[in-house]
Amino acid sequence: MKERVDMTILSVKEIALDTMEMTLHHPYIAAAAKPGQFLYVLAEGHTLRRPISIASIDSEQETVTILFKIIGDGTRCLARLKPGMTLDTVGPSGNGFALQETSLQTALLIGGGIGVPPLYGLAHALHEQGVNVKTILGFQSKAHVFYKERFERIGQTYVVTDDGSLGHHGLVTDIVDEAGEFDYYFSCGPVPMLKAVTHQLQDQPGSISLEERMGCGTGACLACMIRDDSASGYKKICSDGPVFGANGVIL
């Protein structure tokens, strides 16, 4: 169950170009959060909260780490926060990745840009369950790359960049064949990337995580819709998602 709490900021760091990592302390959130869920955080003086995916959870330290890109006034305001200050948060929000697939031998994770963070918590959880994790990470350029070494400590990791300044020059989909066999895939990133990935892997089981501008963040306002084939014709990204079956929604 999500709650509105004030989380205490422990650290705020720029870990890549315009990309911030923030670690927050709160016993309830750290105990309740699962990989793939998000925190709905309020930048002071703003009307709408920002949905920011959870990158990692440390239940012993009772902390949650989030990563966000500075793309506008709200995220700029969040980036200016300092350790010791608090962050007004509604969370943990949404539904995370289904991890009960204990039969998994090998999982392929495909992330693009600021879609990479939720896959890190997932990679960690899968690795702890003994799943072999392979990861393909796509970024705009070398300056935007983050968490490469962390993913490398978990399993085979491929990096691609749009401009070729690090790793393979091209798209995440270029690497999928090279990454080899897997039982299930998880992907998060911009919609054009997700379209390409789900098309390429249409015969494989997988899950995707979606992002959208949100209003209430709790399922009431119907701002963040995605069409599907169900009787209602839609799903709510904030409350039915943000994680969906790869072929369960119409991108």
Binding site: T218, C221, A223, M225
Partner: protein, 304 residues
């Protein structure tokens, strides 16, 4: 003991605060945060004759002190709402106001008739001011003759009191208010959103897929106050005030302007506990400004 109760046509409110239509769904999601019995009433999301899927996304964009939305009246249709949503709200001791929308007068009438057969609905709110759909909505809300016509037709089939939700996107709000009162409206809801647009610099295109949207939130509060203040002396039916209410002080400000009760919209998104927190603080705010009851404050901003 400060008296928060207000009696309006069809609505015996234990306090004057209700969530505004469209910002609260049908209450389910917010019932995870608090007991809905704390609310004065619940105004449900707009219902149309058939299910609607609404507009493409993005449907919301933040603005300075507010937001734009263009949901496009997405809803499962009146019959589904009655079957699964009204029945949920029946579990609470809170009056339910049904927001009625449509593309044609016939659709408004059909939806109104369905809610009139639903015993747990206490009043109708006629949505003649949605700026986000291509047909209906605002075309009824910007022309006094059309507004009167749709009000008359709904009144003819409705034993439930009818509150007409007025659009601020009109040149003469007083004429609109007088026209719907004359057509039989039992009350007014003021105001709906102001039509606006934002252009996203990164893409150099409108942020919203619908291009235009309705501006809400604290940015529009002075517009709402001005319009309620202007309308109040010209009508004898009560006004439910709305537009940027976020604090208990705002509730009093709307009362002074002439509102008898208020609805809270966008502020629920900023803080899901806005309504109960506002209700808890309201007695103290009324006392601070010398009022023993909500009733005493209504229209007092007009006293010379």
């Amino acid at each position: 003991m400060t008296n928060l109760a207000v009696d309006l046509p069809g609505l015996r409110l234990k306090n004057p605060v209700m969530p505004a239509s469209g910002c609260f769904g049908f209450g389910r999601e917010y019932s995870d945060f608090y007991d809905l019995n704390k609310l004065g009433a619940v105004i449900m999301k707009a219902a149309t004759g058939e299910a609607r899927l609404g507009n493409a996304t993005p449907r919301v964009a933040e603005t300075a002190s507010g937001m734009l939305n263009a949901i496009g009246l997405q809803n499962p249709g009146v019959e589904q709402i009655i079957a699964s949503e009204v029945s949920f709200l029946e579990g609470y001791h809170v009056p339910v106001v049904a927001n009625v929308a449509g593309s044609t007068i016939q659709e408004y009438v059909t939806v109104a008739e369905a809610f009139n057969k639903t015993p747990s609905v206490s009043a109708l709110e006629l949505n003649i001011s949605c700026p986000n759909v291509k047909e209906g909505g605002i075309q009824f809300g910007s022309d006094p003759d059309m507004a009167a016509k749709v009000t008359e037709h709904v009144k003819a089939v409705s034993h439930l009191p009818v509150y007409v939700k007025l659009s601020p996107n009109t040149s003469d709000i007083v004429a609109m208010a007088k026209a719907v009162e004359q057509a039989g409206a039992d009350g007014l809801s003021m105001i709906n959103t102001l039509t606006g647009m934002q252009i996203h610099l990164a893409s150099q295109k409108p942020t919203l897929a619908n291009k235009t949207g309705g501006l809400s939130g604290q940015a529009i509060k002075p517009v709402a106050i001005r319009m309620i203040y202007a309308v109040k002396p010209h009508i004898s039916i009560p006004i439910i005030g709305m537009g940027g209410i976020a604090e208990a002080e705002d509730v009093l400000e709307f009362m002074l302007a002439g509102a008898s009760a208020v609805a809270v919209g966008t502020a629920n998104f900023t803080n899901p506990y806005t309504c109960p927190e506002m209700i808890n603080r309201l007695p103290g705010v009324l006392q601070q400004y010398g009022y023993e009851s909500v009733q005493d404050a209504i229209g007092r901003g007009h006293n010379e």
